[in-house]
Symmetry: C2
Subunit: 141 residues, 2 copies
Amino acid sequence: MAVGFRGRKSKGSKAERDLIHLFWSKGFAAMRAAGSGSTQHPSPDILVGDGKHFFAFEVKSSKDKTKYLTKDEITQLDLFANSFGARPFVAIKFDSEKWYFLRLTDLRVTKKNYVVTLNLAKKKGLTFEELIGKYKQRRLS
Amino acid sequence: MAVGFRGRKSKGSKAERDLIHLFWSKGFAAMRAAGSGSTQHPSPDILVGDGKHFFAFEVKSSKDKTKYLTKDEITQLDLFANSFGARPFVAIKFDSEKWYFLRLTDLRVTKKNYVVTLNLAKKKGLTFEELIGKYKQRRLS
């Protein structure tokens, strides 16, 4: 059924490894998912936690200023995150730009796809510091 | 440094897939880790959550009645679990037996390794139902 939904992903992408290093360096534990077809269940690319906050990421990098995601990728990410108890985000790295983290409701929807442009990412996305800071602030309240 | 600590693992083990199915069938989300050498950071074989309870597993199967684990495997599992906010267990499936889940403190220690025998698993390990039931009960209190 969902066997193929991770099929197009680069299994060992540098972006994923970079993001994992970034989270570990800030006191989070981060885990990369097994490659495509590993099970027929949904899986994010990366799962992150620090005992209080849990994030599930679909990770994308792009040389262009527009990146497409399939509806299935987003549906599966949302499904996994809801079951696991993590906040789902699309983590996107455009060349020469910072990481941006987009909530699924902030993605642009077309007939067949979800779309993230660099503009949208800058407008709606959280930076890494905001993602961490945001939830760190909430911890205090 | 820790690059090699997953090296001896069977990447696509049937045991891991079976365990993932089992957890999904009970309302947990379960994720398999990427294979060895994926990053230099620690990683469990499987990470499981249901919004309230988070488990990190080192997964083993055995045709014999004795299974060895390296100290490094256990150290890394513990490190990951503590950082992430999950309870670490060794999940072990001896041929023709149920799954047993052992707390790290219940493993037998030798000079060089940790050891799980079938006897120890039956005596100290939790069954799947106990693992789930235990934490479900705690949820009510």
